[in-house]
C-alpha cells in the first residue's frame, strides 16, 4: 500500500468514525423513557439513602424501595460506601443486625473526660465524623445533634454503630451533650465539612465562653 493510499484510508476511517458518533448523538429518540435511555430500576441507579433502618429493612446492597420515581437518576449522588469486611476487628456484629465499630466506640469513652480540655472533646467528635465519612464517603445527613447521633448509632447503610447506646453523654432526647449537659452543636457546612461547638460552662450558645472547633474541609482522598 502506498503512502497516498494510507492517507485516503485513514481519512475515510476517521470520517466514518465521526459519522457514527454524530449519528449516535443526533439520532431520533424513540425510547419511552426519554432523556437518559437508562431503563427504570437500572443497575446504574444508585441506592437511595437508607433512612429509618430497622431490623426488618433490607440489608445494604439490596435494591432501593422506590427507584421508579427517579427514571433519570443515573447519576444519583449517594456515594457507594467503602467495601468492608465485618468479620474481624474492629467490627463486631450484634444479634440485632447492627455492627459495632469498636475502635471508635472505645475512643468515645474519653468524651467529657474532666482531665482533658473541652476542645479535646470537639477534636474527638471530629475524629468520629471523620471515621464515618471515611466509610460512607460523606458526613451524616443531619441538621440536628439528634440526627447526627442517629447516624452514628446505626442509621446508616451498614448499620454501623460508632457510639455506644449507653454512652453517659447521651441525654433522653438522643442528643450528645457536653460536660455541662448542653447538647453539642454540629454545624454542617458541606457534605465533607462539619463544625463542632460547645455552649461552655454557662450552657448558652452565643456567649463568650462558647468553645468551637472549625473542621478543615474534608479531602479524604
Amino acid at each position: 500500500m502506498t503512502a497516498k493510499t494510507w492517507k485516503i484510508a485513514s481519512a475515510a476511517l476517521l470520517a466514518g468514525a465521526l459519522l457514527v458518533i454524530a449519528f449516535l448523538i443526533f439520532k431520533p429518540d424513540h425510547s419511552p423513557n426519554k432523556g437518559t435511555g437508562i431503563p427504570i430500576n437500572s443497575e446504574l441507579t444508585q441506592p437511595l439513602e437508607n433512612r429509618n433502618i430497622t431490623s426488618s429493612d433490607p440489608l445494604p446492597g439490596d435494591k432501593p424501595k422506590s427507584t421508579e420515581q427517579l427514571p433519570e437518576n443515573q447519576l444519583a449522588l449517594f456515594p457507594e460506601p467503602l467495601p468492608l469486611d465485618f468479620s474481624s476487628a474492629p467490627f463486631e456484629r450484634q444479634v440485632s443486625g447492627t455492627i459495632y465499630k469498636r475502635d471508635v466506640i472505645t475512643m468515645l469513652q474519653d468524651l467529657n473526660n474532666p482531665e482533658q480540655e473541652t476542645v479535646s472533646d470537639l477534636q474527638l467528635l471530629e475524629e468520629v465524623i471523620f471515621a464515618y465519612r471515611y466509610i460512607f464517603k460523606q458526613n451524616p445527613v443531619a441538621g440536628e445533634n439528634r440526627e447526627v447521633i442517629e447516624a452514628l448509632s446505626g442509621k446508616n447503610p451498614y448499620r454501623l454503630v460508632f457510639i455506644s447506646p449507653s454512652h453517659p453523654a447521651l441525654n433522653e432526647g438522643g442528643e450528645l451533650v457536653d460536660r455541662w449537659g448542653s447538647p453539642f452543636r454540629f454545624h454542617p457546612v458541606s457534605g465533607s465539612q462539619m463544625e463542632f461547638s460547645s455552649a461552655g460552662p454557662d450552657a448558652v450558645f452565643g456567649t463568650p465562653d462558647d468553645i468551637a472547633l472549625e473542621q478543615s474541609a474534608g479531602n479524604d482522598g
Binding site: I21, L48, F78, G143, S190
Partner: protein, 572 residues
Amino acid sequence: MNSRKKISLNRRSFMARSACSAMGLTGVVSTLAHMKLMQGALANTSSSLNDYKALVVLFLFGAKDANNFLMPGLLHPSRANYDAHRGVLALPTAGTNPTHPIVASNLAADPSAPVGAEYFELHPSLPDVKNLFDSGDLSIAANVGTLAVPTKASTYNSVALPPQLFSHSDQQNQWQSSLPDRPFQSGWCGRIADILHPQNIDSAISMSVSLSGINDIQAGLTQVSPQYSVTNAGAVTLGGYGNKYSSALTNSQDKHSYKSNASGRRLKAFQDIMDYTHDHLFEEGYNNVVRQARENEGYVGEALEEADSWLHPVALDSRGRPWPFMTATFLYQHGIDPSGLNSTNISALSALPGLSRQLLKIAQLIAGRRCLENKRQLFFCSYGGHDTHQDQGGYSGNGGYVPGDLDANMSVLNDALKAFNDCLHALETFENGQNDAFSYNDFLLASHSDFNRTLTPNGNLAGPSGSDHAWGTHVFTMGGNVRGGNVFGYYPDLDPAGVWSTPGSSRGRWIPTCSVEQFTAPLAKWLDVGDAELAAIFPNLDRFSSPFGSTYSPSGYDSMLANPNMDYLEGI
C-alpha cells in the same frame, strides 16, 4: 518525493497516543453534544431577541430566616402555631415592635383559600419592601426548596431526597444547578446563557455578569458565555496606573493616549507586549485573555460612564457638579446626603453596604446596556451573613426586644432593593421617548437562599438565641412582569409535628411544596427560552407539575404538589 517512515510504537508511546486520541474524541463528542443543544435552541427559539431583558439573581447566602421574613398575620390560620413555637424569636403582630401587615391579593380573591390566609407580615426591618409588595412591584413565593422528586411527609423516608440536606454548600450548589440528584456540571443561568447568548448577535461582552465573583449559577455547559466578573468599583483594571488609568492616560476612553511620564511609558510597554502574537499556544492564549480583559474593561467602563452621564437634578458634589443619578439615589436611600461629598472618590461609596454597591453597579450596567450590546443579560449578586444560629434578634423575658443580626440583614436588604427599584423606575422615565428605551418590564430580580431555618429557636434567651438549618423557604421576585402584591406557592401551617414538617424532627422544617425548577422555569421562559429548551435547561422539570398556569389548590398536600401555584409572571 514523500516517503513514509515506519514508526515503531513502544508501549509508552502507544499509551500516550491512545490517551491523546481518546481526549480528542472526547472533545469531538462533547462538541457535538453541545452543538445538539445549540441546534435545538436555534431551531426552536422563535424570538429574534430584538427587545432587552435583564434577569438579576440575588443569593442570600447562609440561609435567611424565612420564618421571620414572611410571618403569618394576626388572622392567618398559621399564626397560632407561629406564636406557640417560635419562642423568643417570635415577632408580635402588635405592641412595641412596628408591624407590617400585607394582604396577598391572589389569596384574598380566591374562595378556596382558608379564612385569613391572605394576611401576612413582613419583617419589621423591611418597610420599603412592604411598599414594593403593596405597589405591585414585588411578590413572594412560599415554601420553595431543592427537591429530587415531589416529596411529602408520608414519602419522606422512601423517596430520594436531595443529597446533604441541611448542609450549606451542598444546598447552595443545588439551588444554583437546580439538579440536586446529579454531580454539579452547570448552573441554570449558565444553561440559559448557553442557549441565548449566541442570539446576542452584536454582543460586546458575556451576557453573564457576576458582581459576586465566580459562582455556580452562571457556569454553563459550553464556554459561549463565560462568567464575567465585575467588582463593586466596576471592571477589574490593571493595577498601578491610578483610577481609570488617570496616571498613565490622558483620556481613559482612549487606551493609546499615553501620558509622557513613567506610568504612561510603562503602560505603553505593557500594551505593546500584549499586542505581540506568539507562536506558543499557551503564550498566545494567555495574551488573548489579557487582551480580552482590556477590551471588556473598555466596554464596561464605557457602559458605566454612560450610566453616570445621567445626572441627579438636586445632589451636587463638593465641586458643585451634579452627582450621577443612580449613585445619589443609593446614597439617599441609605441616609447619606451626597451634597458636598467628593463624587470622584470611590471611597465616598464605601459607606454603602456591599449588596447596595452590587445592585448599584447592576443598575448602572443596565443603564449603559447599549454599550454592551446584549439583548439578554444575566446578573448575579449575593449577600451573606444569614446563618443566624445565634444573635438573631428576639424578645427577652421582660418583653423588651433585643435586636440581632436578622434585623441588620433585613435592613440592608430593604435599602438595597428599594434603591435598585427606584433607579429602574426612574430609568424608564428618563429614557422615555428614546430609541430602545428601557421599560420597567425589562428586568426581573429573583432571590435564592440555601434553605429556611428552623421555626423553633435553639435557645430561650433573646440575645444569644437563633435558629438552625431547615428546608423549604420563602423567596421573592421583583420587576415589571411580576404579578406583585401576591403570595404564590403555599404557606406552611407552621406545625412542627404536622404534615408540612420533616418526620422525626420537632424543629419545624418545612418540606418544599415547590421545587427550585418550578420557581425558576418561569424566569427562563420570561427570557424567551423556548419550550423545548426548557427541558434542556431544567431536565428534572417534568418530574414536577408544571408551574405555568398553575393555580391555588390548598386541599391537601397532593393537591398542592399537583398545583404549585407558581404563575407569578405576566406575559410568558
